[in-house]
Symmetry: C2
Subunit: 139 residues, 2 copies
DNA sequence: CAATAGTCTACCAAATTGGTCGATTAATAA
DNA sequence: TTATTAATCGACCAATTTGGTAGACTATTG
């Protein structure tokens, strides 16, 4: 399961993508509309900003915006930034790979099966973007 | 990611399926061959037994065996028994469903996307079984 | 300079993870 | 029937992660 943090991140991004192009959005706004604890949301938005998914502006008229056009940010990327690996085993992760200490990966059946599972889920998450969080009409 | 527990469970099952039909297998055997901490493995095997994936026998000549033919136990089932939900969000889980408190699931784009992701991964894990843990020849 | 709004550092409680320990019970064999 | 074998059960534990909170600080605008 995704952590609460990642779930909040997705909701916050959903809110931001709907307001894309408009004025910067206040943390407090997102917090209230999406029912996300304010201070926790601060941390989350900061992480998304450090990952270059969002930009921010301080002071009056400040707030958060998407950094790039929504179709350029994949859900896979967002999840990796907040929660880390998407794969179910370290030895099949593309971005967080760690070798298996007990088995030969070339021969390991478990390895092969979970590569299949990984590719199946990435087939979705690498191709869905923030744009897919918008309602139908906005295509 | 799967927990260590689930990873160990898969390795233990791999060992057991290879010895399917033979005498019951000792916990100690599995522990040594698959490098799984003995007492931790005890817990894991017990859970698999309580889930009717394994059977056990006490005393001399005792040990653990698969309860059913290997093709009857899916990887999805094993994972759910040990780790719980496979879905990435509570509101898209089939066996551990919990409603979303902030959004209308019929309209929620996030919900729809993660149903797609869930179905993609289940497309693999519901159809792969313990038999698929055997080397090629044993089909 | 005051008000606004994000940034940063630090901290915290509770739950989960990844185990361990020791006693008990069941089955078998001598 | 007693010793041995091997799974079972309940309790416990340290370390890490999760899901936050508090408060001081910095940058921007008017």
């Amino acid at each position: 399961m995704l952590s609460k943090k990642a779930q909040y991140a997705l909701k916050a991004l959903e809110y931001l993508v709907e307001r894309q192009g408009a004025d910067p959005v206040l943390i407090r706004d997102i917090s209230e509309q999406k029912r996300i604890p304010l201070k926790f949301l601060e941390n989350i938005l900061l992480e998304l900003r450090n990952a270059a998914i969002l930009t921010s502006k301080k002071g009056k008229g400040g707030g958060y915006c998407l950094k790039n056009p929504p179709e350029q940010t994949t859900l896979a990327h967002v999840i990796r930034v907040i929660d880390g690996p998407i794969a179910m085993l370290p030895c099949v992760s593309l971005y967080f790979y760690q070798p298996c200490d007990t088995c030969d990966e070339n021969a390991c059946r478990i390895n092969k099966l979970f590569i299949e599972a990984r590719d199946a889920v990435l087939g979705v998450l690498e191709h869905k973007t923030l744009r897919d969080l918008l309602p139908e009409t906005s295509a």
